[in-house]
């Protein structure tokens, strides 16, 4: 057991102390703070006007051919707190267009009314990808038109508001496992983020294991190690060491993320906060996330160690890891596509396939009110697979680490088992 902890410590600390690991961690921490305060930063930069090239985007020049819309439209815009200012102009349209290209003005609006008393508006700006202002103006004009029509039909404001009163719509579900729409939209964000974290972490740390094993093998230090400690012990101590490091790193990111969002002052972030369902984080979901990360990691790390033990040079690791990489990517595809429809048949089936379980079963647990036996069954199958793979992996590993040669293919697994046979 002492050997186990010696290897555990070694693989934990040598990895934790490497410059690349520290720098990556710092960059991600900095990134999290940056993202959390992104809206504040964007606002600040916009206020400075850095992106606007001098022209004021809040001022819209209006060519009002009927001469009756400018004022009520401005009132509408003020009422909706859009912050837009309209300025009447008598310049010709060509003139205004050239002014836009010269960046003297940002945009202009041409208003007229046709024979059937419908407002016709043309909004012109440099690019068609401007999105916010046209939207606001369009809504304001729509209101204006409604008021205009109402007046012409002699409707009282009360009658108008009755006419446009919104219906009350509520969505209920019969299936016992589905959450209410409100719960679902709350869960969706959290689950989405956590699936991404699990996917990324399992992928990243499994790769780390394979690289570690291949490095030890290519530097031949492996021969010394396995002459002192059994390869199986070495393999699992290494997996546990790197796994613990991973868990701590993710926990650090989680805490930093939480602090960053709490301390960032912008309203928008708190909006994002609640949109992603972080405002009332479900303890169950978090717990399942940790469980599925650990299980997924053990499954893939064992596979990675097995594959890593087959190569003689670190350059060949990626090639041999390819099939494993595909498995993780397929799992993530199923999980991400399942967010929109977690009760789909293929999602259900996939959640019991061990290589997909960590992501897909987590998706279902997070999005649906599953009966307890479902995740437990999934976890059970996963555990059994991990044990089988661990047993199989240690046999391959035992021979694989002694095998040096040019060919690196999955066919060598058979050779490795023969070599490691006791």
């Amino acid at each position: 057991m002492r050997d186990f902890w010696t290897i555990f410590n070694q693989s934990f600390w040598t990895k934790a102390k490497t410059k690349s690991f520290m720098i990556t961690t710092l960059i991600v921490v900095a990134g999290i703070f940056l993202m959390a305060n992104l809206s504040v930063i964007i606002e600040k930069v916009q206020n400075v006007g850095m992106f606007d090239g001098g022209a004021d985007s809040d001022t819209i020049y209006v060519v009002d051919e009927s001469g009756q819309f400018l004022e009520p439209l401005q009132q509408q815009l003020d009422a909706s707190e859009s912050g837009l200012t309209l300025k009447s102009t008598n310049n010709s349209i060509d003139d205004l267009k050239s002014k836009i290209s010269e960046e003297e003005i940002k945009s202009f609006l041409v208003l007229s009314i046709n024979d059937s008393e419908i407002i016709e508006a043309t909004y012109t700006s440099e690019n068609a990808n401007e999105f916010d202002n046209p939207m606001v103006i369009r809504d304001a004009l729509q209101n204006l038109q409604t008021n205009l029509k109402a007046t012409s039909m002699d409707l009282s404001p009360n009658e108008v508001s009755q006419l446009f009163a919104p219906i009350e719509f509520e969505q209920n579900a019969v299936s016992s496992s589905s959450k209410t729409e409100e719960e679902l939209s709350q869960a969706r964000g959290l689950v989405y983020v956590l699936i991404f974290v699990i996917y990324f972490a399992v992928f990243y740390y499994s790769n780390m294991i394979a690289m570690e094993v291949a490095t030890e093998k290519s530097s031949r230090v492996m021969e010394i190690i396995i002459s002192s400690v059994s390869p199986v012990k070495h393999m699992f101590a290494k997996i546990a060491g790197v796994g613990t490091l991973g868990l701590l790193q993710i926990a650090l990111f989680g805490i930093v993320g939480f602090l960053a969002l709490k301390t960032s002052s912008s309203d928008l972030t708190s909006g994002v906060f609640s949109f992603f369902g972080f405002s009332n984080v479900s303890i169950d979901t978090m717990l399942f996330a940790v469980i599925f990360f650990l299980l997924g990691y053990f499954l893939y790390a064992t596979l990675a160690a097995l594959l890593g033990s087959m190569v003689s040079r670190t350059e060949d690791v990626q090639q041999l890891l390819l099939p494993m990489t595909f498995l993780i990517i397929i799992a993530s595809f199923i999980a991400f596509s399942g967010i929109g429809n977690p009760e789909a048949g293929y999602v259900q089936i996939a959640s019991y396939i061990p290589f997909f379980t960590p992501l897909v079963m987590f998706l279902r647990v997070g999005m649906l009110d599953l009966p307890v036996w479902e995740p437990i069954l999934g976890i059970g199958i996963l555990l059994i697979t991990i044990f089988i793979l661990g047993w199989f992996g240690s046999r391959v590993y035992r021979g694989g680490v002694l095998m040096y040669g040019a060919s690196q293919s999955l066919k060598d697994i058979k050779k490795a088992i023969q070599l490691g046979k006791r």
Binding site: T18, E216, M222, I224, I225, S228, V229, L402
Partner: protein
């Protein structure tokens, strides 16, 4: 504390890597293991270490097979450098010492003593990849001796070392032998084996074709060299009975003979022709034996 290898055979599929190998290493002895590349030396070492299992036969250390339970008594130096390139020398030695059952502090003290002894204490804080090949080999040797093992297996310990360091290492090996360790090493350098080992074995295609004490091996070879220096041509004697080969040299010639009696006959007939400036009977070198035994089969 005897290492006993009895009728060991190792097969990889249809390929026989080691065939019916038997040997006994008494405690405190030094055993030289010779053989061309691919002769089965490393496979034998791996079987002794318990990394591979013998297909047939048994290997015991002190009456018990070597497993991870008694691996702390064994020191191993693999043929190629086996160190973490990016780890510091000191950390590395402590880690490898710990894996061999040492306490962290003991490992630290011992590794500093050894670095001192090999005249490289200033490398303690350096990464292995920053060291020269020879210095890496020193670290590798320290890693195999650090935990005071009683059975030491050295696969090509002298490769990559300059003559000064070879002497340093030889002395260190002889010192640990004096302390009672049993040492087995392989080498391509016959002179090292001749100098250090009481016992030796020459492997060829997985079989031990020569083995025993150095003296027995030389005697058993059944040939001696006769060195003659004279001012006249000696080649007329190469057809004499008992002379197996003759090689002309600048100052005279070398005869290879089966029995010592022939040497004196050569001398007598040479003296009839003229004066002899030098006459000596020499034992064959291991080099001769190796080339004769291994080289002939290859030819």
């Amino acid at each position: 504390m005897t290492l006993q290898i009895e009728n060991v055979t190792k097969k990889f599929g249809n390929f026989t890597a080691v065939k019916d190998l038997s040997m006994t290493l008494e405690q405190g002895s030094m055993y030289g293991f010779l053989g061309a590349n691919g002769a089965g030396k490393t496979t034998t070492f791996r079987m002794i270490l318990g990394l591979l299992d013998a297909t047939e036969g048994s290997i015991t250390w002190n009456g018990k097979p070597i497993t991870y339970a008694n691996s702390t008594h064994i020191g191993y130096l693999p043929e190629e450098r086996g160190l973490y390139p990016k780890m510091k020398v000191e950390d590395q030695l402590i880690y490898l010492g710990q894996l061999r059952g040492m306490k962290k502090n003991d490992a630290k003290i011992a590794s500093h003593q050894w670095l001192e002894r090999f005249e490289v204490p200033h490398y303690a804080g350096k990464k292995v990849e920053e060291l020269s090949k020879g210095n890496q080999q020193k670290i590798q040797v320290i890693a195999s001796l650090l935990h005071r093992p009683s059975l030491i297996i050295l696969d090509e310990p002298f490769s990559g070392l300059d003559p000064v360091n070879v002497e340093l290492l030889k002395k260190a090996i002889l010192d640990v032998q004096k302390e009672g360790a049993t040492i087995m090493f392989s080498s391509h350098r016959m002179d090292h084996v001749e100098e250090l080992c009481e016992q030796l074995s020459i492997m060829h295609h997985g079989e031990s074709i020569v083995n025993g004490t150095l003296r027995d091996v030389k005697r058993g070879f059944g040939r001696q060299n006769v060195l003659l220096k004279a001012d006249f041509d000696l080649s007329f004697m190469q057809q004499m009975d008992g002379v197996t080969s003759f090689k002309q040299t600048v100052e005279g010639g070398v005869f290879q003979i089966g029995e010592e009696r022939i040497a004196h006959e050569i001398l007598r007939s040479a003296l009839k022709q003229g004066d002899i400036r030098h006459f000596s009977i020499e034992e064959p070198s291991l080099q001769d034996i190796f080339i004769e035994k291994v080289g002939k089969e290859n030819a």
